[in-house]
Amino acid sequence: MTVTERRPGHDAAVAPGPVAARLRAGTLLAACAGLAGAALLAVLVGPVRLPPGAVLLELVGRLPLVHTHSGLTRQEAAILWQLRLPRVVLGGLVGAMLALAGAAYQGVFRNPLADPYLLGAAAGAGLGATLAIAYGPDTSSWPVDLLPMAAFAGAVIAVAAAYALGRSGGAGSTTTLILSGVAVAAFLTAIQTYVQQRDSETLREVYGWILGRLTTAGWREVVLVVPYALLSTVAILLHRRLLDVLAVGDDEASSLGVRAARVRLVVVAAATLATAAAVAVSGLIGFVGIIVPHTIRLVAGSSHRLLGPLSLVAGAAFLILADLVARTVMAPAELPIGVVTAFFGAPFFALVLRNSRHAP
């Protein structure tokens, strides 16, 4: 097999060699700069406005071997470190996880409408959270809140059930899997509604959780999410090239030497972990997992090599900004963040869709 050996002499004719779709450092840098800007803005704005220069000095001062005097009052420093920063970090993590999971699900199922709540993840998390709120013990003195753990467990169990059901159905095609997710979700939602109606005094709390919120965000939640976020991000990004191979379908991927079912299992597991972690601390925040990856597809291209890293960064920035809006427009009251993501996300997406040359 000597295809390469016919190359000499042709180089001049093929002026620029073929360029594969790759993430350019500049694009990633620009996205990260956008994220940093969004995060800084979100840290500064609130009922108490913090001075930007002092905040930057204060943040830099936390680096090892750097000592600065920021000039923030003790109260301002507490607002920065105990209220704003954990909330911004958590919002960023949740947005990043939802967007990355969305991109991964869409790739693995070859379905542009797949989202992180597919396969019953949301319904399972909702049931877990509702059970914890309705019947769980008071955990305010525990080191870790029960609610996120219950939501997490619910999401993982639901997806495992959907996966088992989908595979037992025979061919294990993606449609079978999605349909079994729909069945599992319907069943769990029915139970959840039943529990919720029985315990009407907790109704408000359950609704508050389901609509999504970052209100109670603290470093405790951040610590809860980080390990899962790290694990699933690494797993999904490592599979980004293989996700591109899956785009030609299971059959052709197999004939190219890839075990499609195995790749799908690993990526689905990682994306579910990411979703469950996000849902556990923030409730159900819709739209991010669909809007962010598709916007990136339309703007930058659909190779998972771009899509994965850019979804991560853009998802974080989008959710940080959405949360900023959620807590400022009706201050001192807060809008559920899911309302904001949909209200701004939908028109923005419509705009991108209209102006794009290559539709998805």
Partner: protein
């Protein structure tokens, strides 16, 4: 040397037998044309050789038993061009052809310089260099079929399986694609197995024809021996004339037999 050997190969899909006890030897460097009516098992045979459907019996690929090879090893030995390849949205021709390098790229790794060089040379070879940056979905049918072929060549497998490589192409592009495959076979010493519907083209572009019917080999041999009016009428239930082409070879043309109804009209 034998490139592919099948011994007593049977395949059942959903409990329905599709291939029955098939025995076939495909010599290295040969051009085998697989013909037969719809549903005769042509596609399933190609898929079985490529290791995409479970089978009974033995399939040997070169000197190894097909079952003993890993998916990757098999993909380095056999490249399959499916009948209707998926066209992923927004993928460039370069990235699409690069998919053919998958069996050589480490599981979680990325392609090497050499992989890109091979892609460049394949694009060059198939006159696709000008399309390298274009989207696959923006190509015409003939160009796209060349891109699919390029992906298969990037696999650098000695055996090329083609499932109806001329589907949806006009007669000119059908000839171009088949001539291209033939030239590549000469250049690279490939073994080519193509499933074909057009019997005339099958006769022109294969040294050896295998006629499948009901999952069994119904006829086997050079074009002149297999493509007879009697054989075609028996297995395709078609009325055809097999004509002598003055330039050499034979031509199969369908004819319309007048029926009662036409006489009345």
């Amino acid at each position: 040397m034998t490139a592919i050997e099948l011994r007593g190969v049977s395949v059942a899909l959903d409990g329905r037998p599709v291939l029955r006890e098939l025995t076939l030897r495909i010599p290295g460097g040969s051009r085998l044309g697989l013909i037969g009516p719809n549903g005769s098992g042509k596609t399933t045979l190609l898929r079985a050789i490529a290791g995409l459907v479970p089978h009974d019996g033995e399939i040997r690929v070169g000197d190894a038993a097909g079952g003993s090879l890993s998916r990757r090893e098999l993909a380095r030995r056999i490249a399959l061009v499916p009948q209707s390849p998926a066209v992923p949205a927004g993928i460039s021709v370069t990235d699409y052809v690069l998919l053919g390098r998958t069996p050589y790229i480490p599981y979680l790794g990325t392609e090497s310089r050499r992989d890109l060089e091979i892609v460049a040379s394949v694009l060059d070879h198939l006159d696709l260099a000008g399309f390298a940056a274009r989207g696959l979905d923006s190509l015409s049918g003939g160009e796209r079929q060349r891109a699919v072929l390029a992906r298969a060549l990037a696999q650098q497998a000695p055996v090329l399986l083609l499932d109806e490589p001329t589907t949806g192409l006009d007669v000119g592009h059908q000839q171009q694609v088949l001539e291209l495959v033939d030239a590549l076979r000469d250049d690279l010493g490939l073994t080519v197995v193509s499933a074909m519907h057009d019997l005339t083209l099958a006769g022109q572009f294969a040294d050896h024809l295998v006629l499948l019917d009901g999952g069994r080999v119904a006829a086997d041999g050079p074009a002149r021996a297999v493509l007879t009016e009697q054989v075609i009428s028996q297995h395709y239930h078609a009325s055809v004339r097999v004509l002598e082409d003055p330039g050499g070879g034979i031509v199969v043309v369908p004819v319309r037999v007048p029926t009662e109804r036409q006489v009345v009209m």
